[in-house]
């Protein structure tokens, strides 16, 4: 019986290896079953993202280490904080927004990462801290309703995005100043390399001039798609992955990756996790080039957090991504540090502007 199980496991790992080998090397011995019988709890964003993660990361990790991965959704910072304060960390690994990382560090909500286990090699540098590594790069893209705007003649820059003479109709923007302000400044002609420190006055001046074209500022990814695909807005800033998922559902929406704003999600370990060591192994696994390449193929609306993943992907696979070394030339990485220092003041001012 036991032998049968082992045989089955070996067969499974070999077939899995074959699957990863299509994308690259995979010389690491699969199936050392280090965490046999254990269970790791991971919290991510649900929806298409988490389905892709389950397929390419969670299941593969469970297979390799002989453990199970329990999934939960909605990595709300308030949840992590309350678990830490209650002294009962129910989730080991969290996939969180990159701007939550510095806030969480300040409030001591994470375990330190062990960089003897996790390799920094190839990871996008701006998003690495002592407590976090990037999980993926998200792309906030120019997007439009294909029934209102022809995809043959669509806005390719943020300046064109705000040009309501050429592209009539309402716009919708992200209600989060972080990433939205960058798009506004690019539209106003600020150069990528001169972006930080952000000229907040200039942002509001530009927003003032275009306020009447903005139907509303969206608060969730689902809402942004509803607004654009539903026709309440002809144009909007939408996450690349959301656009692809909506297109699969047959919704009339398309995106432009030029000048996309790049932010990121990060893997962190909840303070007080009972499986810190296993969590380190998980993060090392989830950020390895092979796994990241597999995930990027499965969910091309974002981009790999590990640049080494590109070596393992075909040209075709890379061209499907919303960001890549080629596309990055026109795209902009947000400066998380600047935002963490300035977010509260900017947010308050933005709220004031909204209701004025």
């Amino acid at each position: 019986m036991k032998i049968m199980k082992k045989v089955a496991a070996v067969v499974l790992s070999i077939s899995m290896l074959a699957a990863t080998a299509a994308c690259g090397k995979g010389e690491e011995v699969a199936g050392d079953k280090k965490w046999s019988g254990k269970s790791l709890v991971v919290c991510s964003w649900g929806g298409a993202i988490q389905e892709a993660q389950k397929k390419t990361i969670f299941d593969a990790f469970a297979e390799k280490y002989g453990c199970t991965v329990e999934e939960t959704t909605d990595p709300d910072p308030a949840k992590i904080k309350s678990m830490v304060e209650a002294g009962n960390m129910e989730v080991d690994v969290w996939d969180v927004d990159c701007d939550f990382v510095p806030r969480g560090i300040a409030q001591d909500l994470f375990e330190k990462l062990d960089f003897n286990v996790i390799s920094k090699e190839g990871l996008v540098e701006g998003f690495i801290t002592e407590y976090s590594v990037p999980a993926e790069i998200s792309t906030l893209c120019i997007s439009w309703n294909t029934e209102k705007i022809s995809s043959d003649k669509h806005p390719k820059t943020w300046t064109e995005f705000f040009d309501s003479n050429t592209y009539p109709g309402k716009r919708t923007l992200y209600t989060n100043p972080m990433s939205m302000f960058e798009a506004v400044l690019l539209a106003d002609g600020v150069k990528k390399e001169d972006m930080y420190p952000i000229d907040v006055d200039r942002v509001f001046k530009y927003l003032d001039a275009h306020k009447s074209d903005i139907v509303t500022f969206w608060t969730s990814g689902a809402q942004s798609v509803e607004l654009v695909a539903g026709g309440d807005a002809a144009l909007g800033t939408v996450w690349g992955g959301r656009v692809i998922a909506a297109q699969k559902d047959g919704q009339p929406i398309e995106k432009e990756t030029n000048e996309a704003i790049l932010t990121g999600d990060a893997w962190v370990i909840g303070k007080g996790s009972k499986n810190v060591e296993m969590a380190q192994d998980f993060i090392a696994f989830a950020t390895s080039p092979e796994v990241i390449a597999n995930y990027a193929v499965e969910y091309p609306g974002n981009a790999p957090a590990n640049t080494k993943a590109y070596d393992l992907m075909t040209k075709e696979q890379i061209s499907a991504l919303a960001s890549s070394p080629e596309l990055e030339k026109t795209q902009l990485y947000i400066d998380v540090d600047w935002w963490v220092k300035n977010y509260d003041a900017v947010y308050e001012r933005f709220q004031k502007w909204l209701i004025s």
Binding site: D76, P77, A78, K81, F100, R103, G104, Q107, T175, V215, T216, F217, T219, Q223, E226, L227, G230, G231, D232, Y343, D344, Y347, E348, Q351, K352, L354, I355
Partner: protein
């Protein structure tokens, strides 16, 4: 002789009555002793799950990261104009919604008291079914109806009445429509028992004495229904100022309600000290509203 017998009879009747009264009083006393015991469990529940957390929120709002006492969060609230503006906006929305609920709910509750039992229970069902339906479901249903390629706009455009879709959501209009629909049952259910208790003979008497229908309504019926109006309005208003889901989904970015502000502070900015302070301020405002309206309306027997 007869008189005496009658007197005796009266006395004994009185005695009997007294005895009965004594007995009833005793029984009532005993019963009230017991009914006090019945409150232990709910009181304990409220104490553990509401009172203690509330105290914790108060404590959270007046302690800084180091754990020492500070009123910084409250100062921040009152020093920055934005939060007071949001409170004013919240009040405006809750007030308009209360007014709309009253205007729409009063005729419905009135009709329920006037029409046949069958029709009035049909109306009651029509009020209760949405009342029992999840708030989220109802809000999403309104999105389907109100969005620019939604039911209303499609019909109006199909009929050629409008060329461009009307903007019915992502603005204050959407908030008013959604919140009024969701809070309307509370108004009707508060009005109905009061209206059905009004003796319509008073109105008839007023009309007999020469008042026309409108005057009879304004001078007789309306004042008699003031308790229901007060109860319904206070309920809808106080619930309205704490609304979150409906304004978030149907409103525009400039329709920020105070609860949305609290949510951002809790989940996004992780500033629990400030969000606790704002919550306490919201609670204090609700209590003040309740107190003032109770004083103004002189309605001690509301609930």
């Amino acid at each position: 002789m007869e008189e005496k017998a009658a007197l005796e009879g009266a006395v004994s009747f009185n005695k009997a009555e007294q005895l009965t009264m004594n007995y009833t009083a005793k029984r009532n006393k005993r019963r009230s002793n017991k009914s006090w015991m019945l409150l232990i469990l709910p009181a304990l529940f409220l104490f553990i799950f509401m009172f203690i957390p509330l105290l914790q929120i108060i404590k959270l709002s007046i302690t800084d990261a180091g754990g020492s006492f500070t009123l910084a969060a409250y100062l921040k609230f009152f020093q920055s104009s934005i939060y007071l503006q949001v409170i004013a906006l919240t009040f405006k929305v809750a007030f308009v919604v209360t007014l709309l609920c009253l205007l729409l709910g009063y005729p419905v509750a009135y009709a329920m008291t006037k029409c046949s039992k069958r029709i009035s229970s049909l109306i009651m069902i029509a009020v209760m079914i949405p009342f029992w339906t999840s708030l989220l479901v109802r809000t999403y249903a309104w999105m389907i109806i109100l969005q620019s390629n939604g039911i209303i706009n499609n019909i109006l455009m199909g009929l050629g009445l409008i060329k461009e879709p009307l903007q019915l959501m992502n603005n204050t209009t959407g908030v008013y429509i959604g919140m009024t629909h969701i809070l309307l049952p509370y108004m009707i259910l508060s009005l109905y028992p009061v209206l059905s208790g009004i003796d319509f003979n008073y109105v008839s008497a007023a009309q007999n004495l020469g008042a026309n229908k409108l005057l009879a309504f304004l001078r007789v019926y309306l004042p008699l229904s003031i308790q229901g109006i007060a109860a319904g309005s206070i309920l809808v208003f106080v619930m309205g100022i704490g609304y979150f889901v409906t304004p978030s989904l149907l409103g525009g970015s400039n329709d920020a309600m105070i609860s949305q502000l609290i949510q951002v502070q809790v989940s996004k900015l992780l500033n629990w000290q400030f969000s606790s302070a704002v919550s306490i301020i919201l609670l204090a405002i609700s209590l003040v509203v309740l107190y003032v309206s109770k004083k103004l309306m002189k309605v001690d027997k509301l609930w």
